[in-house]
């Protein structure tokens, strides 16, 4: 039950942060919030500034509102062999797997 709740919380945070990021993106380049939306790699619409802004805001909101910490940006920067956060769905999954849950 806790896993389901946490996944919902993480999904809500990611969706909210994408909505906020969309305010900075041109109409044609806005992200949808479906799990298969590409974030990183070929076919992704975000530039590096967009990715940094998104990941930092997700990290911050997870930490301040849900006491969940996870090094999203650090992982993005250090991954050289494929990316575990390629889509919104895989991003939520990755956070779920790697988050340190606060008390």
């Amino acid at each position: 039950m806790r896993d389901v709740d946490q996944t919902l919380e993480i999904t809500a945070v990611v969706t909210h942060c994408i909505d906020e990021l969309n305010k900075q993106l041109p109409a044609a380049g806005r992200l949808t919030t479906t799990p298969d939306t590409l974030l990183v790699g070929d076919g992704g619409v975000l530039d590096s500034l967009g990715l940094i802004t998104l990941f930092v805001s997700i990290e911050q909101e997870l930490a301040t509102k849900h006491a969940i910490t996870c090094p999203l940006l650090d992982t993005l920067m250090s991954e050289t062999d494929g990316n575990p956060m390629e889509t919104i769905g895989s991003l939520v999954h990755w956070i779920n797997q790697n988050a340190n849950i606060g008390t």
Binding site: E20, L21, K23, Q24, L25, P26, A27, S48, L49, I52, T53, V56, S57, E59, Q60, T64, L73, M77
Partner: protein, 553 residues
């Protein structure tokens, strides 16, 4: 948005550019970001006519070297810091000779400890020093009417989110996205003000908007307003906030579904009312559709719908007005009256590039207009009414004393504006400095009061051919033969410059159709659909009911 903006910063200001590009009506291609860290070179660009304004946003510890030293808690001579501020201000004012420059005031990072409890101590504390730096910058920039210091502390304060340090380390962005979002809205409001697009009239509902309760049910004695009641106090504070805006030239009006007699009784008799009848330039209190009432008010006050903000607690009424009159700004309004003041303060649509005596007296001017209308209804004819008004038109050269108001008229007037040229003070003074050109400023007064400087005529000659380049008149004096008097003055000026004929070319915009109607009604020779002409001899006759006085040049 067709103006071209350049953003100059010593940090990564790209988020501001992105928020600006996404504002409704803005052209994404018209915003350029200078390479950060290239502050002085970017500011000192060679004159580039395509750049309309530069936005300068810097961090004090990165742009003022002595302040950076002070931030290391080393002893510095604060006067030397201010010398650097002067050099910074000089670079800004130099750029302001070419285009508008909007400068963000300097702020410290949130929770920066500085010298702790000593941080406000003169000669030591960084907060004290930064306050002096901002004051110095404000004073130095105030001498240039193209330079504006914007309150960046408000942007930072309004953002609820803390500054994420990671954004700084990863992308050299010192603030949360929300700060940039507020900054973009504020800057857009300031630009709108210069371009004559600020909102000038707030139309308010009554019940549960400026007082608590429904006056038709409880009578004014039962309303929640002031007193020992937190909701009543909130409504009273909201009225105070609205009244403050009138000192900035913003007018108030009422559109409410109520019995007019009952509502006006409440306004006049409730002891805690801060807004009285005399604070409103007009009202439509009846049971009709509010959108129709707003249209009527706009027509009576000679204001375009794009000048109006409508505030109503009822979402259904807001929705009706927003869909029927899309030009009217209808902000979402909080349910909680204690949030009303904040909601009003967050509307960044009331900026003014200058506040003139005409702005401060505008409410009285509208009230005088109401009395003029009443006099007209009592008069036998329009001529009789005009004669009884005893209208006097005063003509002055454009000079340092009136240039701020002249620039304001150039940039704010939409309806009676022949060519809708938007010019800065410097551009106006430069334009009229040529021998074959003349520009006059027209002030109007009558039996009811002084309307101040309300009109401009600019003419130029090319041999015997004279042209009216600008014909600008505030809507406050429309319909009183001042329009015709301006045509008379234009031909007189051109005659003085040696012209034999007068060419008037109407440049249509979305909002200046009334200008064409004035020209058509004046029975000039219409040589093309948008072009009129007058022979300098005999010229255009002055309306007999208007007296013209020449000021001392």
């Amino acid at each position: 948005m067709s103006v071209f903006l350049k953003l100059i910063s010593d940090f990564n200001v790209e988020p501001l550019a992105r928020f600006l590009r996404n504002l409704p009506g803005w052209d994404a291609e018209a915003i350029e970001v200078a390479r950060y860290g290239q502050f002085y070179p970017a500011l000192a660009d060679r004159p580039n006519e395509t750049i309309w304004a530069k936005i300068v946003w810097t961090q004090p510890e990165r742009v003022i070297a002595q302040f950076a030293t002070a931030c290391n808690l080393e002893a510095v001579d604060h006067e030397l810091v201010l010398d650097e501020v002067d050099a910074f201000a000089d670079a800004i004012t130099q750029a302001a000779n070419m285009q508008y420059v909007f400068v963000a005031s300097w702020v410290m990072p949130r929770n920066y400890p500085g010298y702790g409890m000593l941080d406000w101590r003169p000669g030591l504390g960084l907060k004290h020093l930064l306050a002096r730096m901002n004051l110095r910058l404000a004073e130095r920039l105030s001498v240039h009417n193209n330079a504006f210091l914007l309150n960046a502390e408000r942007w930072q304060r309004t953002a609820a989110e803390a500054e994420p340090a990671k954004l700084w380390y990863a992308a050299k962005i010192p603030y949360a996205p929300q700060v940039f979002e507020y900054a973009a809205t504020d800057i857009a409001g300031a630009i709108d003000a210069i371009r004559g697009k600020s909102r000038r009239l707030i139309v308010v509902d009554l019940d549960n908007t400026i007082w608590g309760g429904v006056v038709g049910e409880t009578g004014w004695q039962g309303l929640r307003l002031g007193g020992h009641d937190h909701i009543g106090e909130a409504f009273k504070d909201f009225q105070r906030e609205l009244k403050l805006l009138t000192s900035r030239g913003i007018q108030l009006a009422i559109v409410s579904k109520n019995d007019e007699c009952v509502a006006l009784q409440a306004i006049e008799n409730h002891p805690e009312m801060l807004l009285r009848k005399s604070d409103f330039v007009g009202w439509c209190i009846n049971w009709q559709d509010k959108a129709t009432n707003i249209l009527d008010l706009a027509k009576t006050l000679n204001l375009g719908l794009a000048s109006i903000v409508f505030i109503d607690d009822n979402p259904a009424e807001r929705d009706r007005v927003a869909s029927a009159l899309p030009e009217v700004l209808v902000p979402d309004w909080p349910k909680d009256p204690t949030a009303y003041v904040q909601a009003l303060r967050e509307l960044d649509c009331f900026h003014a590039a200058a506040i003139s005596s005409e702005d401060r007296s505008r409410k009285q001017s509208y009230i005088d207009n109401r009395e003029r209308e009443q006099l007209m209804q009592a008069a036998d004819s329009q001529e009789d009414w005009l004669r009884r008004l005893n209208t006097r038109v005063r003509v002055d050269k454009v000079n340092d004393g009136n240039i701020a108001r002249v620039a304001q008229l150039f940039n704010k007037t939409n309806q009676l504006n022949l060519s809708t040229r938007r010019l800065s003070e410097r551009e106006i003074l430069d334009w009229q400095s040529v021998d074959n050109r003349s520009m006059i400023a027209v002030s109007v007064s009558d039996h009811f009061g002084d309307m101040g400087l309300v009109g401009i005529v600019a003419v130029e000659t090319d041999g015997a051919k004279g042209t009216v380049v600008d014909y600008i008149l505030s809507c406050r004096v429309m319909g009183r033969k001042v329009e015709e008097t301006l045509l008379h003055l234009a031909t007189e000026e051109l005659s003085r410059l040696g012209a034999a004929s007068v060419d008037i070319r109407y440049v249509p915009t979305a909002r200046n159709r009334p200008t064409l109607e004035v020209l058509q009604k004046a029975r000039l020779q219409q040589v093309e659909p948008d072009r009129f002409s007058i022979d300098v001899k005999p010229g255009f006759a002055k309306p007999p009911a208007i007296a013209v006085e020449r000021g001392d040049d």
